[in-house]
């Protein structure tokens, strides 16, 4: 069993998704129960489904100094860094601690795969990648972290975590270990995943894509809606920001069951949850809100609903926000960490948009409509292919 950790300050955070650029647009959309899924207008060939696409990515070109990193995923990263003064806050941390004392741990599932796909659609006469895309840096899974490290001028440990849809929850764990050991004083964590053919046609091939906007936990749910997002958080020791919201704990586990379906009893999900509560030094009944993984896939929601129903009292409120944003894959962990932090900050339990008749496995914890209440502790679940699970625990500074 894990032992409690020293909480860390989340001294800055930001999110950009189909709901808009920055936190304010997210709060406004949640408060109005206004989702942002749209009919698929993205894939290079028609595919009838709904997507969570971020507006304005195409216009967010990188400064000339970083042109070698140009691709849609890095444009979304650049756009995301500029919201909520995050860029300034990260540069300020670099100034205070030194560039080598700030770690960068970023998550992505497909990085700039969209650029590689584009290259294959227009190979040159020799069957090679066309000259404008002949930039090895963007055909690597490290493209995102490499770009952001350069853009922020960070020179500490720099890592890409790519465990599919749990990736950007796990980055908090990597950062906490580096800070706990004293190898760094702060960490920029986050994740960016953009829409691309690989994920749209890949999930379609697995028959996991819904023909209608996704409906997490609804009896009549028909699968996921794929989305895209960028999110970042700055983690420091609490002395540096005593009033900031806090990372209280995290849990990580493996299902050891199947590559693309969850353990039927939610074994790995429960291990990650228990691990997070143990590190946070919390009992289940102290949890006020849980942002669920809730993808609207048949299996995930059934297994996760049963786990919540058997573990928490009815006073713990739980919901999925994927009906608002779609499933943002490698960015889901950080986006939903942001929703959890916003829930604490604004006392807002977002309703499970798209769910009208809950699955029989759901307990009384599932919030269908928005609820206003004091939230001191919030959890966020993230589960990925390969049976990779993570759970985060956030809270406020003691009064």
């Amino acid at each position: 069993m894990s032992v409690p950790i020293q909480p860390l300050a989340v001294s800055a955070y930001t999110a950009t998704s189909a709901l808009g650029h920055g936190l304010e647009s997210h709060v406004a959309a949640l408060a109005a129960s206004r989702g942002a899924l749209r009919p698929n207008d993205f894939s290079s060939a028609p595919l009838a489904c709904w997507i969570g696409r971020v507006d304005g990515v195409e216009e967010a070109s990188l400064p000339a100094a970083h042109a070698v990193w140009e691709c849609r995923n890095n444009r979304l990263a650049w756009l995301g860094l500029h919201q909520d003064h995050f860029l300034e806050r990260a540069l300020d941390a670099r100034q205070r601690y030194g560039a080598a004392r700030v770690a960068l741990v970023l998550a992505t599932s497909t990085a700039s795969m969209g650029a590689t796909e584009e290259a294959y659609r227009r190979l040159d006469e020799q069957g090679q990648i066309p000259p404008d895309l002949r930039r090895p840096l963007i055909h690597s899974p490290h493209s995102l972290a490499g770009f952001v490290a350069e853009a922020l001028g960070l020179e500490g440990p720099c890592l890409t975590v790519s465990t599919a849809c749990s990736s950007s929850a796990k980055v908090f764990a990597n950062a906490e270990r580096l800070i706990r050991l004293g190898l760094v004083d702060a960490a920029v964590v986050g994740g960016v995943d953009t829409l691309c053919d690989s994920v749209l046609f890949g999930f379609n091939a697995l028959e996991l894509v819904s023909p209608e906007p996704c409906r997490p936990f609804d009896q009549a749910r028909r699968g996921i809606s794929v989305g895209e997002a960028a999110g970042f958080a700055l983690l420091e020791r609490i002395e540096a920001a005593p009033r900031a919201l806090r990372l209280l704990g995290y849990g990580e586990s493996s299902d050891a069951h199947h590559m693309s379906t969850p353990h039927p009893d939610g074994l790995g999900a429960e291990l990650a949850l228990r691990d997070a509560l143990a590190r946070a030094g919390l009992r289940a009944d102290q949890v006020d809100y849980i942002n669920l993984h809730g993808t609207a896939s048949h299996k995930n929601d059934e297994v996760e609903a049963a786990l919540i129903a058997r573990t928490f009292p009815a006073s713990t409120r739980a919901s999925s926000t994927k009906g608002y944003t779609g499933h943002t894959l490698g960015a889901a962990g950080i986006l939903e960490a942001a929703f959890s932090l916003l829930a604490i900050q604004y006392g807002l339990v977002p309703g499970s948009l798209g769910c009208t008749t809950p699955d029989a496995a759901c307990g009384p914890q599932l919030a269908l409509e928005n609820e206003q209440r004091q939230i001191n502790v919030a959890l966020s679940n993230s589960f990925g292919f390969g049976g990779n699970n993570a759970c985060l625990a956030f809270g406020r500074a003691p009064a």
Binding site: S43, S44, L47, A100, M113, T116, E117, A119, Y120, R121, L123, G127, Q128, I129, R134, P136, L137, H139, S140, P141, H142, A145, G146, A149, E150, E155, P157, C158, L159, T160, V161, S162, T163, A164, K170, R177, L181, G182, L183, D197, S198, F201, F203, N204, A205, L206, E252, S253, S254, D255, A256, H257, H258, M259, G268, L271, F385, G386, G387, N388
Partner: protein, 265 residues
Amino acid sequence: MSSLSVFVEGIGLWSPALGDFAALRAQEHGQAVTPPPAKLPATFLPANERRRAPESVLLAVEVAGQAVAMSERSASELPCVFSSAYGDQLISDYMCATLALAPTELSPTRFHNSVHNAPAGYWTIATGCHAASSAICAGPASFGAGLLEAASFSQAEQRPVLLVCSDIAGSGPVGEMNGSRTNFGCALVLAPEQGLHSLAKLVLTLEPHAGLALHPGPPSGAWHEANATAASAWPLLQNLAHGEGHCTLAAAATLALRVSMEKVA
């Protein structure tokens, strides 16, 4: 603190010329070595999984299995970190080629095998491991960053950890972008404290602002230059084979990781 120590308890290795760590040690001591069979044994996988698993998974599982066997630890208890600079490049090439021509014909199995954590997934499923598993990369610094990640996990959590670093040969237009032309994998079981199975102590020290020192020299034609993981892991593996030595690895673009090896008492 800018340094930490770990104890090596198991070493796995695979290249077209060297089938395990014993072969490397023999070669380093001037003995003749028979190359391993071309087909990766990956015996930790059940036979049906071995048939289904892509090349990147077979390679990672093979070296992981060697390291765990040497450590005599139980694979099901070991948290694991899988590092690869480029992931499964054969699948990347297949996916991009298929998406360009007939996107709706994409294979669902190849899609779920395309995730960077496919080796971690197959490994934890085959060994019944419920511990934390991760899949990471850091470009050309993927080996050094992986070593730092596994060592910091081991020290922070006071648990032995399995580190697996591997890259397969590239293929197609995307393969030409990264110059990976051969298979190579290695694995280490790292423990926070000295134990009965300790083979060596590694003292890792972060040395920041090391940009120029980390730039690779001009190509010498050595075989390990044909694989990002081999090129970066080779100095440490040679030290392990000789039982002593220091080396400097890249842990990030300008962050060096000095690895001093000490014999265990």
